[in-house]
């Protein structure tokens, strides 16, 4: 009898708790990305910025659909004739989630503070071009640049964390924010637990269109297998970044899960060289490697065909970046052997290289990538490769100290402009990026071309200059572009989820996603 009562109680409980659920169930998004630091001045990773983007706005943004530049906090803007003074007219009536008003003073405060803090892990350098910010009146702010910069408006969008505007009342003193901020984005941050989840609730005072889903949770999974299990069991409504290629193929046959691919990807992977480190200080050696490496094998074996080969550092996207020019050659083992022979390497005297990779940053396939790259070089019969595994911290140490001759690296763009794919390794910070390219005889040429390009408003001319750099790089081979990370451009969702879209910004707009 008592057992029966227990059963009834339990059943009652079950029904009761299910009824309590019902309406307003949160939209749950699963990912294996992690937050580095929720800070405007001290974070530089895609996912931290994704969270900031959902909860904050900047002066400008890219249109969700067309990706055209449009007003956000600023309704409109004017540019002076010499391209150094920008005047922004702020939309009236915006309030931050802590209740304070977002006006010209708030804009000045945020940008000044971010520039001043300039966190060592952050991307404040992307807005270094700002000289002064002045408040003209309550709703007008004027930004003066150090020199004309064609990419400045792009750097003022909510694609860039340092450009974001936040409440002065909620910002901690001189510390980095670490999640303590109040923005005026479509959502407000309810809770963030490292390695576990981020919870959002729609911001009722948002000036734009209200988000479709009132509550959103982003759950952080430790690996792609866990993420797959989560979407398959319906534990999450959306799985975004990154599913294993084999799992994607597998899930396509599952009617309960909708797999969508959103190519192409602006994220690239490549081999980089320290041009001062023997034996790869010899350009013929680098050219030979460039002929020997087997992109096809990486793509078909490691990634099951889910990624695309690239032949220049500027990824091939649609609409294309102006000036993209696929200049690198296809695989040619005979050519590679011939080049190596000219510098004295043959079967008796093989070229010995070491190939480090990091096991803890680029996902679980990195060991396979290194294996295939090494094996494809060894197929020349003239090269011997020793693979070496390091965790990410140690890897970076070695890269920036110049210890590696050849190493695997990756790049996600900060802003969608060609210079962001060419500058960093050649002209901006060659030493810290590990290439030591500033010791290269042609360094000055690259630097000059890049400087001219950045000040050139005419996109056709600018494109030509970018092309010049790409052509030069095929001769000097400071890098070998390998593949674009199209595997990151795959989403999985349950059939009742709508509004999911992934574009070249590589981010989903969570405010447009909802479920029935």
């Amino acid at each position: 009898m008592s057992r029966f009562i227990g059963f009834v109680l339990l059943a009652g409980l079950l029904i009761g708790s299910m009824a309590a659920f019902g309406a307003n169930t949160p939209l749950i998004i699963g990912t294996i990305d992690t937050v580095d630091e929720l800070s405007f001045a001290n974070s530089w990773d895609m996912y931290s910025w994704h969270v900031l983007r959902a909860t904050c706005d900047a002066l400008l943004k890219l249109n969700d659909d067309t990706l055209e530049l449009e007003g956000a906090i600023a309704q409109s803007w004017d540019v002076s004739d010499d391209g150094t003074v920008y005047t922004f007219h702020i939309r009236p009536g915006i309030v931050f989630t802590d209740g304070t008003v977002c006006d010209a003073n708030a804009v000045k405060f945020s940008l000044d503070r971010t520039l001043r803090q300039d966190g060592p892990k952050g991307a404040v350098s992307l807005i270094y071009v700002i000289k002064t910010i002045s408040v003209l009146d309550n709703l007008t702010v004027q930004i003066t640049l150090k020199q004309p910069d064609v990419t400045f408006l792009l750097a003022m969008t909510n694609q860039i964390a340092p450009a974001m505007i936040y409440s002065s009342a909620a910002a901690p003193g001189d510390e980095f924010d670490r999640g303590r901020y109040a923005g005026c984005g479509p959502y407000k941050l309810v809770e963030y637990v490292p390695d576990q989840y981020v919870k959002y609730e729609a911001n009722p005072t948002y000036y734009g269109k209200q988000p479709v889903s009132q509550y959103v949770v982003e759950r952080h999974y430790s690996d792609a297998s866990a993420l797959r299990a989560a979407i398959e069991s319906g534990e999450v409504d959306v799985a975004f970044r990154t599913l294993n290629p084999e799992d994607i193929t597998d899930l396509k046959s599952n009617p309960q899960v909708v797999i969508e691919s959103w190519p192409p990807s602006p994220g690239i992977r490549y081999l980089a060289f320290n041009v001062t480190n023997p034996p790869v200080d010899n350009p013929f050696v680098r050219q030979a490697i460039c002929y020997a490496v087997d992109r096809g094998a990486i793509i078909s074996q490691v990634f099951g065909g889910t990624v695309q080969p690239i032949y220049t550092m500027v990824p091939n996207v649609d609409p294309p970046f102006f000036g993209a020019l696929p200049t690198f050659p296809e695989r040619d083992l005979a050519k590679a052997r011939q080049l190596l022979a000219t510098v004295g390497y043959n079967e008796q005297n093989p070229l010995v290289l070491s190939l480090p990779y990091t096991s803890s940053h680029y996902g679980t396939f990195e060991a396979d990538v290194a294996t295939v790259v090494a094996a494809s070089l060894e197929e020349t019969g003239v090269i011997q490769v020793n693979i070496e595994a390091l965790e990410w911290g140690g890897y970076l140490d070695q890269v920036s100290s110049g210890a590696f001759g050849m190493f695997l690296f990756g790049w996600h763009p900060d802003y969608l402009e060609t210079s962001n794919f060419l500058g960093p390794w050649t002209t901006d910070g060659p030493e810290s990026m590990g290439t030591y390219f500033d010791y290269h005889p042609n360094y000055q040429a690259y630097k000059d071309i890049m400087e001219v390009a950045r000040a050139t408003v005419d996109t056709v001319k600018r494109g030509k200059l970018y092309q010049a750099i790409q052509i030069l790089s095929t001769q000097d081979v400071p890098w070998i572009p390998l593949w674009s990370m199209t595997d990151e451009m795959v989403t999985a969702r349950l059939p009742n989820v709508h509004g999911l879209k992934l574009d070249v910004t590589m981010d989903i707009d969570i405010w447009n996603i909802y479920k029935d």
Binding site: E246, S300, Q301, D368
Partner: protein, 308 residues
């Protein structure tokens, strides 16, 4: 302290108590040489694995496929007559990787064992024989390390030293030192009390000489017996380290690493990638365990209780 003798016995754990029995049994010439099936099975397994690994390292393509060459087989196919254990994502034959995959485990287990056995025993002899403050301090340190999870300590050491065979040997070597220390110390304390050591002392032999010539040899049997159980454990530690990515760099075949690799293909149905390396680890570890069990049985008849 205040412990009862029984409790003290238990605290030395079942391994050591078995070993103590071994010594006493040898001392009284009571070795019973029957029922050695367990020992035999264990020996056969271990010898077979040693042979297999040695041969596979001399001729890597033993079964006609290369364990390291990519594109040597179809991609991700299950076991078939031509590929007994299937193929992996880089189009390699899993069986050929299984054959040579124990290399790191065996090298690290044996080298690490030698390291911990030598340093642990020497410290144990000194500590047990000399007694006093040195003994107290050493025992305290060893007990503290012993209480700490050895796997976590090993992971920590390998993470700090870097991946590869060398660091793994150090890690495995260090974490097992306390085990040998405890055995050697307990034994040398017993030996110290015997009349024949008293006699040697009376003759005026130096302490070093006593420890090396008279104490040490009397504890060797005990130490050797612990080592087979220890090897079983070390195989698992090495596998865990490789699984976590601190082992051999690719493309060298390695069971632990191959399991980590196969994990990615688990849900899409490629069960053979993790099943076979796992079975190899179990069998090898079991082999060492059986040897340990067999030795204990052999020399400690109390463990084999007669029918009532």
């Amino acid at each position: 302290m205040s412990d009862t003798p029984e409790r003290d016995e238990i605290r030395r754990s079942f391994l050591t108590s078995g070993v103590l029995g071994l010594i006493r049994a040898i001392g009284r010439g009571r070795i019973a040489l029957h029922r050695q099936t367990v020992l035999k099975v264990g020996l056969v397994i271990v010898i077979a694995f040693l042979l297999m690994t040695a041969v596979a390292n001399i001729w890597p393509s033993l079964n006609g496929y290369s364990p390291t060459l990519y594109r040597d087989a179809p991609r991700l196919e299950g076991p078939s007559p031509s590929h007994w254990m299937g193929t992996d994502q880089l189009q390699r034959d899993v069986f050929s990787r299984i054959l040579g995959g124990g290399y790191a485990s065996l090298i690290v287990a044996f080298a690490g064992l030698a390291l911990s056995m030598i340093s642990g025993s020497v410290l144990g002899w000194i500590s047990g024989y000399s007694g006093g403050w040195l003994d107290r301090i050493l025992s305290l340190v060893m007990d503290a390390v012993y209480a700490f999870p050895s796997l976590i300590l090993a992971i920590l050491m390998v993470a700090m030293f870097g991946a590869g065979i060398g660091p793994m040997i150090w890690a495995v070597g260090v974490v097992y030192i306390p085990t040998y220390f405890r055995v050697a110390r307990a034994e040398s304390m017993q030996v110290r009390e015997t009349t024949y050591i008293e006699a040697i002392k009376a003759v005026g032999a130096s302490r070093t000489r006593i420890v090396l010539r008279h104490v040490a040899p009397n504890t060797v049997n005990a130490i050797m017996a612990v080592s087979s159980f220890n090897l079983a454990d070390a195989i698992l530690t090495v596998a865990a380290l490789s699984f976590l990515g601190f082992g051999l760099p690719p493309p060298a075949p390695d069971w632990g690493f191959d399991i980590q690799n196969g994990q990615k293909y688990l849900q899409s149905g490629s069960w053979w990638l993790i099943t076979f390396p796992g079975l190899m680890i179990i069998t090898l570890s079991l082999g060492f365990g059986l040897i340990g069990e067999g030795i204990s049985d052999l020399v400690n008849p109390k463990r084999r209780r007669k029918h009532v």
